[in-house]
C-alpha cells in the first residue's frame, strides 16, 4: 500500500480534520449510548 502523500498543509488538514470530525460525531453518539447502557439498571436514589 502506498503511503499517503500530502503536497500542502491544506491537503493534510483537510484529510485529518475530515476523519476527525466524522469520528467526533460517532463518538458523541457512542458516549450518549454508553451512558444509557451504564445507567440502564440504576435504582432511583434521589431523596428529593
Amino acid at each position: 500500500m502506498q503511503p499517503e502523500v500530502f503536497t500542502s498543509l491544506q491537503d493534510f488538514m483537510l484529510h485529518t480534520k475530515s476523519i476527525t470530525y466524522i469520528l467526533m460525531g460517532v463518538g458523541l453518539v457512542a458516549l450518549a449510548c454508553f451512558w444509557v447502557f451504564l445507567s440502564g439498571r440504576d435504582e432511583d436514589i434521589r431523596k428529593f
Partner: protein, 414 residues
C-alpha cells in the same frame, strides 16, 4: 500571660492528652515487640531495612553510584513511576472530596477519609522520592522561596504540589485531631473543608495537567503516538479515573485486610461507593478513549499502529483503558463487585503503563538500544521502598486513626 480562651482551652486539652498518652503508651521496645510476626510484616521489615541501606548509598555515593541515569536520560524510574504515577494515583483525594462536598453526593462520605489519607501519603512520598532524584534535600525550599523560575512549567508543578500538600495535610488533620481529643481545633479545621476542597480541585487541575505539559517541550524525543499538544488534557482527564480507580482498589484491599477496623456504617456505604465510582470511572474512561482516538486521527498517526510501538499503544489503550471501562460498566449493571475490583486493578496498572510510556519507554525512542535507559536494580529497589513506606504508613494510620470507622465521640458530626 493571659491567652484568649480558645487557645487556653486547646493548650489545657493538649497538656491533659499528653499526660494521658505518657501513662498509656508503651515504650518503643514494647511497641516493636508487640508487632505480630506475620509474613507480611517480616517482608515489610526486610524491604524497609533494604531501603534504608539504599538511601545511605544514594546520599553517600551520589546519583551515579546507584542509578543508570546520565545526561542523555536524566529522568528515570523515580520520575516516571514514583512521581508521575504517584501524583496520578493520588488524585482520588480531589475527586472524592469534590464529589462529596462540592457536588453534594454525601453518600460517598465514607470514602473521603481513606481517599484523603491516600492522597496525602501519595504526595508526601512523591516529595520524599524527589529527593533521591534531585539530591541536596536542604535546597528543597529554593524553587519556592529563593529562586523562582516563574517561566517554567516545572515551577508551576512544584508550587502546586507544595500548596496542595499543605491543603491535604489540613484536610487530613480532623482524623488525627479526633484521635488526639483536640475538639476545639478539630471543629475549626472542619469549618475549612469547603474552601480547602475548592482549592484542592483548582490546584489539582493545574498540576495534573502541567505534568503532561512538561513533555510538550520534547516533540522530537517522544514517540508521535504519545506526543500530542493535548498531553496536558490527557494527563488531567486520566488522573480523574486513576484517582477513582485507586479509591476502589484500595477500598477492596482495606475490606480484605482491614475489615476489623471498619464499622457498620462504612461497610454499608462501601457498596454504593463502589457502584458510583465505577460508573463515573467508566464514563470518564470512555471520554478519554474518544479523545485519544481523535488525537490519533488529527495527527494522522495511523501508520505507526503497525509498528512495535503501535502494539504497545494498542495494549495500553485497549487492554488497560477500554477493557477496564467495559468491566466497570458490566460490573455496575450486574452489581458484580468482583468485576469492579478487577477493573480497578487494571485501570491502576494502565495509568502506570501510560506514565511509563510517556516518560521512559516511548521517550528517546529514536536512540540506539545501547543508549536507551533501563533502571538499575537499586533504582527499582528504592521505588519498592517508597511504595512499601506508603503502605506501612497507611496501615499505621488505619490502625490508630478513625479513618475506616467513625470516632464514637463524633458520630454523625460530618
Amino acid at each position: 500571660m493571659q491567652y484568649p480562651s480558645v487557645i487556653r482551652e486547646t493548650l489545657d486539652s493538649a497538656r491533659n492528652q499528653a499526660a494521658l498518652w505518657r501513662s498509656r503508651l508503651p515504650s518503643f521496645k514494647e511497641l516493636l515487640l508487640s508487632i505480630p510476626r506475620t509474613p507480611a510484616n517480616i517482608v515489610t521489615a526486610a524491604i524497609l531495612a533494604m531501603g534504608a541501606l539504599l538511601t545511605l548509598l544514594r546520599f553517600t555515593l551520589g546519583i551515579g553510584g546507584i542509578s543508570n541515569l546520565d545526561n542523555v536520560n536524566p529522568w528515570g524510574i523515580w520520575i516516571g513511576f514514583d512521581l508521575l504515577c504517584g501524583v496520578a494515583l493520588a488524585a482520588g483525594g480531589y475527586t472524592t472530596s469534590a464529589a462529596c462536598y462540592l457536588f453534594g453526593l454525601k453518600r460517598y462520605h465514607g470514602a473521603v477519609r481513606p481517599a484523603i489519607t491516600t492522597a496525602f501519603l501519595g504526595y508526601l512520598f512523591v516529595v520524599v522520592a524527589l529527593h533521591y532524584d534531585v539530591g541536596q534535600p536542604w535546597r528543597l525550599v529554593y524553587p519556592i522561596f529563593v529562586s523562582q523560575g516563574t517561566t517554567s512549567v516545572l515551577f508551576e508543578v512544584g508550587l502546586c504540589v507544595f500548596i496542595y500538600l499543605c491543603v491535604l495535610l489540613v484536610e487530613w488533620t480532623p482524623a488525627s485531631l479526633e484521635w488526639l481529643g483536640l475538639k476545639t481545633i478539630r471543629s475549626f479545621v472542619v469549618k475549612l473543608t469547603l474552601p480547602l476542597t475548592i482549592l484542592g480541585v483548582i490546584l489539582s487541575t493545574m498540576h495534573q495537567s502541567s505534568l503532561g505539559a512538561l513533555f510538550l517541550t520534547s516533540p522530537g524525543k517522544l514517540h508521535p503516538l504519545w506526543y500530542s499538544s493535548f498531553l496536558p488534557v490527557f494527563f488531567f482527564v486520566s488522573s480523574m479515573f486513576a484517582g477513582m480507580s485507586m479509591v476502589l482498589f484500595e477500598g477492596g484491599l482495606a475490606h480484605r485486610f482491614l475489615h476489623h477496623k471498619m464499622d457498620e456504617a462504612h461497610l454499608h456505604s462501601s457498596r454504593e461507593i463502589a457502584l458510583g465510582f465505577a460508573k463515573a470511572s467508566s464514563f470518564v474512561m470512555a471520554g478519554y478513549l474518544c479523545m485519544r482516538l481523535f488525537d490519533l486521527a488529527m495527527n494522522n498517526n495511523w501508520a505507526y499502529l503497525g509498528t512495535g510501538y503501535g502494539l504497545l499503544y494498542l495494549v495500553e489503550l485497549l487492554g488497560f483503558v477500554a477493557l477496564p471501562m467495559l468491566l466497570y460498566a458490566f460490573g455496575v449493571r450486574e452489581k458484580r463487585f468482583g468485576l469492579i475490583r478487577a477493573a480497578s486493578l487494571m485501570a491502576v496498572l494502565g495509568i502506570v503503563l501510560n506514565r511509563l510510556n510517556v516518560c521512559l519507554i516511548a521517550f528517546n525512542w529514536q536512540l540506539p538500544a545501547d543508549e536507551r535507559y533501563f533502571p538499575s536494580i537499586m533504582e527499582i529497589g528504592l521505588s519498592v521502598f517508597i511504595v512499601t513506606m506508603i503502605i506501612t504508613a497507611y496501615r499505621i494510620f488505619a490502625h490508630f486513626l478513625p479513618m475506616l470507622h467513625e470516632h464514637p465521640e463524633y458520630k454523625d458530626a460530618h
